[in-house]
């Protein structure tokens, strides 16, 4: 780099540029926060959903599955699993039955542990997954298979 561009100029651009872009990021975050209530389905966060999210977290579901595409890639996407498995026509029953039936024990196949959830806890997990499936995700995933 030429000698007319000095280190102190580089330093000033670093501090100025970083502060500017961080403030811009904050501004966009504020705008996002205002825009979210129309998109994030938060009006449907019930006590069941809150409990379901906690069960989701304390069994480390994200360690195998993705949720809205984030997580591990070992097991299917669950952001839209409620809809994939029948939605309001049977989605809940399918999910609960599936969780209860684990592990399959089929030799050589990927296994999901049994987390010994109570009926109430299973309902909470379903409530959480239903809530997630109704978040406006800009039409992601491309199709129902997730």
């Amino acid at each position: 780099m030429s000698t007319t561009f000095t280190k102190s100029m580089a330093r000033n651009i670093f501090y100025g540029g970083s502060v500017f872009f961080f403030l811009l990021f904050i501004a966009l975050t504020v705008d996002t926060t205002h825009a979210l209530p129309k998109r994030d389905n938060s009006q449907n966060i019930t006590p069941e959903v809150a409990r379901g999210k906690k069960i989701w977290e304390t069994n480390n579901c994200i360690g195998c599955h993705t949720l809205l595409g984030e997580g591990a890639y070992f097991a299917p996407e669950l952001g839209n699993v409620y809809k994939r498995r029948g939605g309001d026509n049977g989605g809940a029953e399918f999910i609960k039955g599936w969780i209860k039936a684990q592990p399959t024990g089929i030799p050589g196949r990927r296994q999901m542990p049994n987390f010994h959830l109570t009926d109430q806890e299973l309902d909470d997990v379903v409530a959480f997954l239903k809530y997630v499936s109704e978040i406006n995700t800009e039409k992601w995933p491309p199709n129902i298979e997730g």
Partner: protein
């Protein structure tokens, strides 16, 4: 070494390498579970192995960063560390806390661990990479504060170089953004939005400052190029990092419920994120070509050049491949992400920590560089690990393409597990490359035990 207190870096480096081995062993377990699904089930389910794999990575890199800072700061500030004793105390606290956490993951059901460790007081667990129990997270904050106190006090009483300022800024940012791991709202969109303030603003933000500073330090030492030149490069690189990286966070906000405009902000700015990495490559090669001395530590120079190239490939090129919103629509949450993650972490952070260890460890052991024989073995380990991680990346990319093609882009999309069977060949090859990587890592460890003629440290 120039300052006695630099010696505290040594246990940090040794712990880092030890945990690195653990990380790779668990990586191999997971890799095998991808194709032999019931391997080690139910003793170590996949999610537990993954938690150990990723958490060990984070912790050993943090050990590496802290060791690097303890080595670098006295030399840059030209005075002894404020408190070597505190540095050793925090080392043991961090190591014991880290080990206990891993033991907890492996031997206690995760939900029980959550109950025991205060997750009911403040729920922070069960989110990717932030799985640590509340008490571990609090421990990390305490360790980080004590570490920063020690580093800042040393900096305050000594010479303030640009390298140490950028390093400290990166370390302070690391501590500050970690605080968002304590924020876990029930609203999943908000949860994810701020989760990225830890994850993205770490690895595509402040960690790059740490990376740049460490690389600049080693390049000054091994090339003898004028500090003014190197520090000017450093400023330009970290400027580009933050200008592109902060708004680049938007590339994680496409499909999680955030407004649509993030597809524009995220695409435009994250598409520019390869620039600082490209500059880092040019920087490293340029400085080595303009070297004013022939440093006897050839292995460290190789690692420094490797950092530039592989960080650019992994973070830059492989990041760009799937960062534009219309592409990411199909690749999001597939093995594409995993492929990018592996090469980016290796190229940027694994390589830079090993660059520092490679440069500093011989000096900490009382010689300018290791014997020629030891260096040859170390360079073999560089090539074994680097080539095998590139192949891991290529195989995961292939698996990702299979996923996109059959499950996402197709008119008749197949179910997740059916597609996984189709990609199995690539998972097998990935596992093979992983075995080579482990051999490379063991070769690296072996290089520390090879004797031979050495020159005393200057």
């Amino acid at each position: 070494m120039q300052y006695k207190s630099q010696a505290v870096a040594k246990p940090y480096f040794i712990a880092a390498i030890g945990l690195f081995i653990g990380q790779i062993v668990f990586g191999l377990v997971m890799g095998l579970q991808y194709v032999v699904g019931d391997f080690l089930f139910p003793a170590i389910p996949f999610n537990i192995a993954r938690m150990v794999h990723t958490n060990l990575l984070i912790v050993w890199l943090l050990f590496g960063f802290m060791g690097s800072a303890y080595y670098l700061i006295p030399e840059e500030t030209e005075n002894e560390l404020y408190s070597p004793k505190l540095a050793i105390i925090t080392f043991w606290i961090f190591l014991v806390a880290g080990a206990l956490t891993v033991v907890g993951y492996l031997f206690v059901p995760y939900s029980t661990l959550a109950e025991w460790t205060g997750n009911n007081i403040l729920a922070t667990m069960g989110r990717e990479f932030l799985e640590q129990p509340l008490i571990t997270k609090v421990g990390i904050v305490i360790v980080a504060l004590s570490f920063l106190f020690n580093i800042c006090m040393t900096l305050l009483k000594g010479r303030k170089t640009s390298i140490s300022l950028v390093l400290v800024l990166g370390l302070v940012g690391l501590a500050v953004f970690f605080l968002f791991s304590f924020y876990n709202p029930t609203n999943l969109v908000l949860d994810k939005y701020y989760w990225w303030w830890v994850v993205h603003l770490w690895v595509e933000g402040v960690w790059e400052l740490i990376l740049g500073a460490i690389l600049a330090f080693v390049l000054i030492k091994v090339t003898g190029v004028d500090r003014e030149v190197i520090e000017k490069w450093l400023y330009v690189i970290v400027t580009m990092t933050l200008i592109t990286g902060i708004l680049g966070t938007g590339h994680h906000y496409y499909w999680i419920g955030a407004p649509e405009y993030w597809q524009w902000w995220g695409s435009v700015f994250s598409a520019l994120e390869p620039i600082p990495f490209f500059m880092m490559t040019i920087f490293a090669f340029n400085m080595v070509n303009r070297r004013r001395r022939e440093h006897p530590n050839k292995a460290a120079v190789l690692w420094a050049l490797g950092t530039g190239v592989l960080a650019f490939l992994g973070a830059g090129v492989w990041g760009f491949l799937h960062t534009l919103a219309p592409v990411n629509y199909y690749t999001h949450g597939t093995q594409m992400t995993a492929s990018h993650g592996h090469l980016a972490f290796y190229g940027a952070y694994v390589c830079v920590v090993i660059t520092m260890i490679s440069y500093a460890m011989p000096i900490l052991r009382g010689r300018a560089a290791n014997s020629n024989k030891a260096q040859v073995v170390e360079m073999w380990s560089f090539w074994l690990m680097s080539v095998s991680i590139v192949f891991i990346t290529l195989f995961l990319t292939a698996a990702g393409i299979v996923q996109v093609w059959l499950q996402r882009y197709s008119d008749a999309p197949m179910a997740f597990m059916a597609v996984q069977d189709k990609a199995a060949i690539f998972y097998w090859m990935r596992e093979g490359a992983g075995v080579i990587f482990l051999i490379g890592l063991l070769t690296y460890v072996a290089s520390f035990f090879i004797k031979g003629e050495t020159k005393a440290a200057a």
